[in-house]
């Protein structure tokens, strides 16, 4: 099957890489979950409808579909949908928290045609269990890796990095290596969904000054171990380590080339809503629904899917508008920028930008201004404040995960 590496300079856009939320139902209530997963959406696609979507994906040339949730395995038709994807010539992959992945389920997934599993592990045991809000979730996620490997699936891992777990990365790498992962994706926790309720948890832009080199060093180390470390779309951007970070093989000279949402990436929510990327904010980026429109129609005709296809430097603003890398970068990750300022085109989570401010003895701080309303893939609004490097800031304490930001409810 064809891979996920594509010439992105071309204009023949198609949904090569699809992330499909089969259900929002989940067996974990992670504190940083962008979709606030837990309870199923009110009107999710059933198995029959999902199988029809598989056919439409095949017709549009999809190469790989990552099923997610919630937990994808909590959808009644999970295995049937995986089998249909494989039969249609699309590589089926799953991202999971792993709590319910037993040896039997792993074997069933393999038999259905699932090719690869990425288990979300966000730190060493205390940190992971704290972020996942469930004691035992680290052990379950680790067991899921082992079950999937034993079943013959390719196993990989992914990690949301933030101020809670950034110091766990090296130990976590060793743990994942010892459980034989083949690849590891690291992305920034973005203030989206539940993470927007806990803003002390997310990194500040200047944290990238140490975080990115740390991850780059881990990537060098991982190459020697035969493991590929890749950054998520919202990590990096044109620091000195950009080529190392972004290239899947040693010595590569890849770099970020702009948000691919709606160009070669597609996201589907469990009720049939279609976005250019699974993490994009529902209210602003849903182009249509598969219950009332065909996927081709939504892909080809809706501005919500096409917003990156015609993006130029003129669409950027703030620092990004004047950046020397603007033409290549085009403002970095769209959903991340939107989660901060309510619109894309200016992304303070940028390594080059943080270094540029630091050269001048300055840094940018994100200060919450408006809370998120409390819906899946929602966001608040932040002010971006420029201040002297080394300015005082509130410390992250044990109360940081228990912030009440949406309503004025309080204990008397």
């Amino acid at each position: 099957m064809a891979g996920r590496r594509l010439d992105v300079v071309g204009q023949d856009f198609f949904p090569a890489y699809v992330v499909w939320e089969l259900t929002l139902r989940c067996d974990l209530a992670c504190r940083h979950c962008g979709s606030r997963a837990g309870v199923a959406r009110p009107d999710e696609l059933d198995t029959t409808e999902a199988l029809e979507v598989v056919q439409q994906l095949a017709e549009l040339g999809a190469r790989e579909v990552v099923v997610i949730g919630g937990e994808a395995y909590l959808h009644d038709g999970f295995l049937e949908i995986v089998a249909a994807l494989a039969k249609a010539g699309i590589t089926p992959v799953m991202t999971t928290g792993g709590r319910g992945v037993t040896a039997q389920l792993a074997a069933d997934m393999k038999a259905a045609g699932l090719q690869r599993v990425s288990v979300s592990i966000d730190g060493l045991e205390p940190t992971h269990d704290r972020m996942r809000a469930y004691r035992g979730s680290f052990a379950a996620a680790t067991a899921a890796l082992d079950h999937c490997r034993a079943a013959g699936l390719d196993i990989t891992a992914n990690t949301n990095v933030n101020r809670l777990n950034r110091h766990d990365l090296e130990g976590l790498y060793e743990h994942l290596r010892d459980h034989h992962i083949r690849a590891w994706q690291i992305q920034l926790t973005t203030p989206l969904g539940r993470a927007a309720d806990r803003t002390e948890m997310t990194v500040q832009p200047w944290d990238l000054l140490t975080l990115v080199p740390t991850i780059a060093a881990l990537k060098e180390r991982a190459f020697a171990d035969g493991i590929v470390v890749m950054p998520g779309n919202n990590l990096g951007y044109f620091g000195p380590e950009e080529a190392l970070l972004r290239s899947p093989s040693r010595g590569g000279r890849d770099h970020w080339q702009g948000c691919q949402a709606g160009r070669f990436v597609l996201g589907i929510e469990s009720d049939g809503a279609v976005k250019g990327c699974p993490s994009l904010q529902t209210t602003a980026y849903v182009g249509g629904n598969l219950r009332s429109q065909s996927l081709r129609e939504v892909w080809d005709t809706t501005p919500e899917l096409g917003f990156t296809r015609s993006r130029t430097v003129d669409d950027l603003w703030g620092y990004c508008r004047e950046c020397v890398f603007a033409e290549s970068c085009l403002g970095g990750c769209s959903f991340t920028a939107h989660a901060i300022s309510g619109r894309p085109g200016n992304n303070p989570y940028c390594h080059f930008r943080a270094r540029d401010f630091a050269k001048r003895g300055l840094r940018e701080r994100l200060v919450p201004r408006e809370p998120a309303p409390g819906r899946p893939f929602d966001y608040g609004v932040f002010d971006i404040v420029v201040e002297a490097m080394g300015s005082d800031e509130p410390s992250l304490d044990d109360g940081a995960l228990v912030q009440i930001t949406r309503r004025a409810q309080r204990q008397r």
């Binding site: 590496r5 991202t95 110091h167 992305q187 044109f238 093989s249 995960l401 409810q409 309080r410």
Partner: protein, 200 residues
């Protein structure tokens, strides 16, 4: 996009100086291979391809197929969506009896290592409400936002009310659903309790 021969960082073609280390790069003469041909293989940047990624991602394992100081602090709240909940409706006052067993998987910010009962309740109107436990058990009581599910943000937590091992919370509520968790203080806490909700 070029590469800086000094620091190997990327340099936009229009830039003379490396934006990372300020090293001055030669200008490519018009009509020639310019910089690429002179600095040789390995310093030129930019393939036109990239590996597609997404958050919630499953990374490609190969190119072909595609707390501070190390401590996270003490383990704090846990919330298990698989815990059954009992809906107490939208009325007040409420008096309901329950039984705690020793097995549990929810913990509040102020404790609760034992088994728990989880209730959902919607205040009949915005206002001030007192939620409390009665009985002989050493309880921990915590309340969570339940607009989406019973694992929303914790709003308040109480271990002991003054002079007792029972628990009590007085809260200003907006009228949106909340989850009320009656938890055992320790993993040996088991027995009967009464939960009451009173408006004021």
């Amino acid at each position: 996009m070029r590469s800086c021969p000094e620091c190997h960082g990327f340099v936009p073609s229009a830039q003379r100086a490396c934006p990372h280390c300020d090293h001055t790069l030669p200008t490519a003469p018009a009509g020639e291979g310019g910089f690429l041909s002179r600095v040789g293989v390995g310093l030129m940047a930019s393939s036109t391809a990239m590996t597609l990624m997404a958050c919630y991602g499953a990374p490609c394992p190969d190119e072909d197929s595609c707390g501070d100081g190390g401590s996270a602090g003490p383990l704090e709240e846990t919330c298990d969506l698989m815990t059954p909940t009992e809906d107490l409706g939208v009325d007040a006052p409420v008096n309901v009896s329950g039984t705690l067993t020793t097995e549990g998987s929810n913990v509040g910010s102020c404790g609760g290592a034992g088994g728990e009962m989880v209730y959902t309740w919607t205040p009949p109107s915005a206002g001030t409400y007192t939620i409390s436990t009665e009985g002989q058990l050493d309880t921990v009581l915590y309340v969570r936002d339940a607009v989406a599910d019973a694992c929303g943000v914790e709003l308040a937590c109480n271990d002991d009310e003054p002079g007792a091992t029972t628990s009590s919370l007085t809260l200003d509520l907006t009228g949106e659903p909340i989850a009320i968790v009656v938890d055992g203080f320790s993993d040996g806490t088991a027995g009967d309790f009464t939960l009451s909700i009173q408006g004021s």
